[in-house]
Symmetry: C2
Subunit: 115 residues, 2 copies
């Protein structure tokens, strides 16, 4: 059993290609003994975004704060805001964009092998 | 890809033994094609709690709102509040209790077989 406050978790800038003004925190994962998935949190500054990309792992998301969009394979923006859940299937092209004036913060669960 | 607002998801009373004033929503799961885990949301009314029990599945939790506690195997209450994450290992006895005057709401991710 473990409990942890989000603001106590180390934050690192996402440096992979296509990401901008995006920060990553590992809230719960393999080091905690998580057997199935890991919970990461991504924070996008105003104007920030994750890469527009695909990968073999799915995303299970919950928007903690802010307003933004989830871009689909056709480039269509689906608005999301605090209180929304989102599912991105394996190999589905996607991107999160912060569309608001404040921070956009979301949980992104992935199979632990991809944490 | 799917997006859904929490307040649009059907809510049902948890009727299993040991639960009190607890409501369940299935935010994302097998019906959405989730390959690994399902995201449920539990809402505890003031004084409400989940069962004090064990099971083979782990819990990956995020507290959306309110203040409560996570009870461990020894009966010790670990305070949790909005913005906290918690991990309950497989077969670890546990219970969530709402300790505040308002609703206590949390995400509870489990392997999809246990949704």
């Amino acid at each position: 059993m473990k409990t942890v406050r989000l603001d106590q978790i180390e934050k690192s800038l996402v440096t992979i290609d296509g990401a901008s003004k995006a920060w990553r925190q590992l809230a719960l994962g393999r080091a905690d003994g998580a057997p199935t998935v890991s919970f990461r949190v991504f924070t996008l500054e105003p104007g920030g975004h994750t890469p527009y990309h695909t990968h073999a792992a799915e995303h299970m998301n919950y928007i903690i704060e802010g307003a933004g969009c989830l871009v689909d394979e056709k480039g269509t923006e689906h608005p999301v805001q605090a209180g929304d859940f989102a599912f991105v299937a394996p190999n589905e092209k996607h991107q999160y964009r912060n569309k608001g004036p404040a921070l956009f913060k979301m949980i992104c669960a992935v199979p632990k092998e991809y944490e």
